[in-house]
Symmetry: C2
Subunit: 128 residues, 2 copies
């Protein structure tokens, strides 16, 4: 299993945005923007059980998550990997993600899901 280096993890630690690609029922890719972070070297984000992303990942855990420096899209990392899903009991995790990006607790109720990504392949782009 490849490991993200500190420079790559910093992209996930900052208030950058990520695009997550998952697979629909027919195996075609779908994309959305998510808030991101990292835990113990793994990319992490939060979604809902109701959304396509959550449904897709329960069916097929393979995904790709790309995070770019919000001040410089010519600096990004894409991580292809496999999702590990955990229920976000009491929305604790989503509140923490919302605090990171907005300084406030999350404002919408919902049955949320923590997604942690075990990397299989790391693509590092830095056009300086």
């Amino acid at each position: 299993m490849p490991a993200l280096n500190e420079d790559q993890l910093d992209l996930f630690r900052a208030t950058n945005y990520g695009v997550v690609a998952t697979l629909g029922p027919d195996g075609a890719p779908q994309t959305t923007i998510v808030w991101v972070h990292e835990e113990d070297g793994r990319p992490v984000f939060n979604t809902t059980n109701a959304r396509a992303k959550g449904q897709n990942l329960k069916r097929d855990g393979r995904l790709s998550i790309l995070v770019w420096n919000k001040d410089d899209p010519y600096r990004y990392v894409a991580v292809d990997g496999v999702a590990e899903l955990e229920q976000d009991a009491d929305t604790t995790h989503m509140h923490a993600m919302s605090q990171k990006y907005t300084g406030k607790d999350w404002h919408r109720p919902g049955d949320r899901l923590i997604v942690r990504v075990t990397p299989r392949r790391i693509y590092d782009y830095n056009d300086d």
Copy 2:
């Protein structure tokens, strides 16, 4: 076939960036950042025959392309669709893309590919 509206096409016309998700040999998603534009209502980008993206699309033309407002990532559109590939003879198309984003012709030689996307599903996000 769903059609992109003018507001969505404007995201592709501006100097915004896109993330393209394609399928690897095993059907797992891969993501990269691309320059984008539109032609006759279809998203368009440019890649090389040598890169994974080009190889992936020749094998399986299904993709998702997401473009966000570079000043506001809470405004984006994701288009799931099918790629139509054309050889970029003389790099004419890539020069035009480079002119749009850098004001200069493209500087690297290479066997390039124009990718036009026929939309199957459009996801519009606008968190205002």
